[in-house]
C-alpha cells in the first residue's frame, strides 16, 4: 500500500514539474523577451 502511494506521488510530481518542458511555447518560441 505504502509503496504504491509513494510511487504514485513520485510519478505525479515528476510529470507535473517536467510537463512545461514538453509544452510548446507560443509560435514555437519559449524565450521571454
Amino acid at each position: 500500500m505504502d509503496d504504491i502511494l509513494i510511487f504514485l506521488l513520485l510519478i505525479m510530481t515528476i510529470l507535473y514539474i517536467f510537463y512545461p518542458y514538453f509544452e510548446e511555447g507560443k509560435n514555437g518560441n519559449t524565450k521571454d523577451k
Binding site: M1, D2, L5, I6, L9, L10, T13, Y16, I17, F18, Y19, P20, Y21, E23, G25, T30, K31, D32
Partner: protein, 641 residues
C-alpha cells in the same frame, strides 16, 4: 500506513523540490527560457503540497494517538481532549518548525500566483528568496528536529501535554503569532525582488503595505492573545513580563508599525524609500530572531523550551540574510533613491517620521535589554539579569512620546496652509488635557502617572477632534468610503484604550492575601468575599480542587467565582486556575491555594483596574487593521496618520 516513513519521505521530497526551484530560478535568470521558470514555479507549488500533506499526516497521527511517532508520544496522551491533540502540532519544536515551513510555503504560493498573473519577471527573484528560507527550515526539520521521527519502543500511553498549555489560548495564540511572523516573508521576498527586478514603485509599496498589514493584524492578535493567556493562566495577575520571547514578538511588531507609518510618505511624496525597504527586510529577520530566541535557549526565558544546537543555525541564517540584504541594497541603491527630501520639520510628514524614530527607539531598547545579559556573559564574563523594572522604566518616555505624536498627527493636515490653525488646535487640546490630567493627578501623586495621563488624554482628545472634523466633513462616508483613514482611526483608538488599561493596572493594582477556613469571609475595600465551599473532582487527566467564593459589594451580592487548583497526573507542578470577574472599571482576580483537607485555604485577591479597556483596545486595533485592508481603490491617505 507507515506514517513515519511517509512523513519523512515528504520532507525529503519537499527539500528536493525546493532545491530544484532554487537552481531553476537561477538558470532562468541567465537563460530567460520561460519553460524553466514554469517548471520552477510548479516545483515550488509541489513543495507546498508536500508540506500540506505532511501537516495532515501529522494531525492524523496526533488525533489517532499514534505513539509510533516520538513527537506524538511526547506531547499528547490518549485522554487529552481532541482539540488539544490537534494543537499539539505546535506544542513542540519539531511540529512548530514544520508548521512554520507549511505557512511560509502557503503565503509564498498565494503571492506567487498573484506575481505570475501580472509580473512574471519578478517571480524568479521571489522564488529564489523564498526557496532559500524554506530550504533552511526544511533542512533543520530533517537534520535536527523531525516530527516524524519514529519511537522505537512500544508504549501504552504518551506523556501528555504540559498542563500550562492546556488552555483555549493554545488553540489561537501560537498559530496567529506564527501567521504574523511568517507572513512577513512576503514583503521580505517581494522587497528583494523589487530591488533586483523591474517593478514599479507604486505597485511595490501598495502590495507591501497590504501584506505587511495582514501580518501585522495576525501578530497583533497573537500578542494580545498571549497577554490574555498569561493573565488567566500563569496566576500572577500580570499580562506582560518582558520575557525575552514576549520581547521578541514585540520588536518586529514595533518595526512593522514604524514601516506602516513611513510608507505613507513614500506613497505620497516618494521619500524614505531606502528606509522603508530596510524596515521591511528587517521585520522578517527580526521574526526569525524571535524564533531563534524561542528555540535556542541562547537567552534564558520561560518560553525557551529547549537548549539545542538549532539556535546557532538560526544565527547563521539571520547573519546571512542581513549580509545579503546589505549587499543587494548597496548594489541597487539608485533604485531606492528618494525623489525629494523632507523640508519642513514641523509638518504632518515630519511627525510621521518622528513616530517611526520613536517606535524604532523603543524596539532598540527592548532588543538591547533582551540580548544584553547574554552579550555581557559572553564578552565580559559578567552575569547580569535585566528585570521587568528596567523595561517598565525605559518604555515610559517612549509611550509618552508615542501618545503625543499620535495626537499631533490627528490634528495636523498634510497641507501647510492650515499650519497655524493646526498649531492653535494643538495648544487648546493640550491645555484641556492638562486640566483633565491634573484632576487625575489627585488619584496618585506620581509624576510619571501625570505625564502618562496627560499624553493619553491628549491622544484621546485629538482623536475625538479628528473624528468630529472628519464626520462633519464627510458625514457617514468617513467609515464607508475612506476605509483606510477610518481603519487607522480605530487602530489609534485601540492604542489609547490599550494604554488606558496598561496605565490603570500598572499604577492602581492592589493585592492582598487572606488565609481563611471554609465558611469564613474576608474584606478588601468595598468588597466582601465569602469562602462558601470547596469540592474535589476529576476531569480528564486532572485532579481539581475548586473553591466557591461569593462576592458582595457594599453588602449586595454580585457574583460567585470558582478559582481552582489543578493537579496533573504526569506533571508535578500544580497549577492555579484563577477566577476573574471583569467589569469596565476593574477586574477582581482570585488565586486559590488549598492548605489542608478540612478547607483551610489561601486566597490572593488582586484588583486590576481598567484591564477591560486593554482587551477592548486589542479588538479595536485588529478591527481597524481589517477595515483599512478593505479599501480597494488606491489613493493617498487623507487626514489620518
Amino acid at each position: 500506513m507507515n506514517i513515519s516513513l511517509m512523513g519523512q519521505l515528504l520532507e525529503v521530497g519537499s527539500l528536493f523540490l525546493l532545491t530544484y526551484t532554487f537552481f531553476t530560478s537561477l538558470i532562468y535568470l541567465k537563460k530567460k527560457d520561460f519553460q524553466i521558470l514554469k517548471s520552477s514555479i510548479r516545483s515550488f507549488k509541489a513543495a507546498f503540497l508536500y508540506s500540506l500533506i505532511a501537516i495532515i499526516l501529522l494531525i492524523i497521527a496526533l488525533v489517532n494517538s499514534d505513539f509510533s511517532l516520538e513527537y506524538v508520544a511526547s506531547y499528547t496522551s490518549r485522554e487529552l481532549p481532541l482539540f488539544y491533540k490537534i494543537t499539539a502540532l505546535w506544542a513542540g519544536q519539531a511540529g512548530s518548525l514544520l508548521f512554520w515551513l507549511f505557512l511560509q510555503l502557503t503565503y509564498s504560493t498565494i503571492f506567487l500566483k498573484k506575481l505570475t498573473d501580472n509580473k512574471r519577471e519578478l517571480a524568479p527573484y521571489f522564488l529564489l528568496i523564498t526557496s532559500i528560507s524554506s530550504i533552511f527550515f526544511n533542512f533543520l526539520i530533517l537534520a535536527f528536529t523531525d516530527p516524524f521521527a519514529p519511537l522505537n519502543v512500544s508504549i501504552p500511553d504518551g506523556r501528555g501535554m504540559n498542563p500550562l498549555l492546556q488552555n483555549i489560548g493554545m488553540v489561537f495564540h501560537p498559530p496567529t503569532l506564527y501567521l504574523g511572523y511568517v507572513g512577513f516573508i512576503v514583503p521580505f521576498a517581494y522587497g528583494f525582488s523589487y530591488l533586483l527586478g523591474k517593478e514599479e514603485e507604486a505597485n511595490w509599496i501598495k502590495e507591501t503595505r497590504k501584506w505587511t498589514m495582514i501580518s501585522w493584524i495576525f501578530l497583533t492578535i497573537g500578542i494580545i492573545l498571549g497577554m490574555q493567556w498569561a493573565y488567566v493562566e500563569l496566576g500572577w495577575g500580570g499580562y506582560w513580563g518582558w520575557d525575552p520571547v514576549e520581547n521578541a514578538s514585540l520588536i518586529p511588531w514595533l518595526i512593522a508599525t514604524a514601516f506602516l507609518h513611513t510608507q505613507i510618505l513614500e506613497n505620497k511624496k516618494g521619500i524614505f524609500k531606502k528606509w522603508n525597504l530596510i524596515y521591511i527586510l528587517f521585520t522578517f529577520i527580526l521574526c526569525v530572531f524571535g524564533t531563534f530566541i524561542t528555540r535556542s535557549g541562547f537567552i534564558e526565558s520561560v518560553h525557551a523550551f529547549t537548549k539545542s544546537r538549532i539556535g546557532y543555525y538560526f544565527l547563521f541564517f539571520m547573519i546571512g540574510y542581513i549580509l545579503l540584504a546589505v549587499l543587494i541594497l548597496f548594489l541597487n541603491k539608485r533604485k531606492v533613491e528618494s525623489s525629494g527630501t523632507l523640508k519642513e520639520f514641523f509638518s504632518k510628514e515630519s511627525f510621521l517620521v518622528y513616530v517611526n524614530v520613536v517606535l524604532t527607539g523603543l524596539a532598540a531598547v527592548v532588543l538591547w535589554g533582551t540580548v544584553y545579559p547574554t552579550v555581557s556573559l559572553a564578552f565580559f564574563n559578567k552575569k547580569i539579569s535585566i528585570k521587568e523594572a528596567f523595561f517598565n522604566k525605559a518604555s515610559i518616555p517612549f509611550a509618552i512620546l508615542i501618545l503625543v505624536l499620535l495626537g499631533i498627527c490627528q490634528i495636523f493636515d498634510y497641507s501647510l496652509k492650515k499650519r497655524s490653525k493646526n498649531i492653535k488646535t494643538t495648544g487648546v487640546l493640550f491645555l484641556l488635557s492638562l486640566f483633565i490630567s491634573l484632576i487625575f493627578f489627585k488619584l496618585s501623586g506620581n509624576i510619571k502617572f501625570l505625564l502618562l495621563s496627560l499624553s493619553t488624554t491628549f491622544g484621546a482628545l485629538s482623536l475625538l477632534y479628528f473624528f468630529l472634523k472628519e464626520t462633519k466633513r464627510q458625514k457617514i462616508k468617513f467609515f464607508t468610503k475612506n476605509k483606510r483613514a477610518s481603519g487607522a482611526f480605530l487602530i489609534h483608538m485601540g492604542v489609547i484604550f490599550l494604554l488606558v488599561g496598561i496605565i490603570g493596572s500598572s499604577f492602581f493594582s492592589k493585592k492582598k492575601e487572606f488565609i481563611v477556613k471554609r465558611g469564613e469571609t474576608f474584606k478588601m475595600g468595598k468588597y466582601e468575599f465569602k469562602f462558601q465551599n470547596f469540592k474535589m473532582f476529576q476531569s480528564g487527566e486532572l485532579d481539581i480542587i475548586q473553591a466557591d467564593v461569593k462576592i458582595y459589594k457594599n453588602g449586595k451580592y454580585i457574583t460567585t467565582l470558582h478559582p481552582q487548583k489543578q493537579f496533573h497526573r504526569t506533571f508535578q507542578q500544580p497549577i492555579s486556575e484563577v477566577a476573574i470577574h471583569m467589569t469596565p472599571s476593574k477586574d477582581i482576580y482570585i488565586i486559590y491555594a488549598p492548605l489542608d483537607i478540612k478547607g483551610k485555604a489561601d486566597f490572593q485577591v488582586i484588583f486590576n483596574p481598567l484591564i477591560f479597556w486593554m482587551w477592548l483596545g486589542g479588538i479595536f486595533m485588529v478591527l481597524g487593521g481589517i477595515l483599512s485592508l478593505l479599501e480597494k481603490e488606491e489613493r493617498g491617505v487623507k487626514g489620518n496618520g
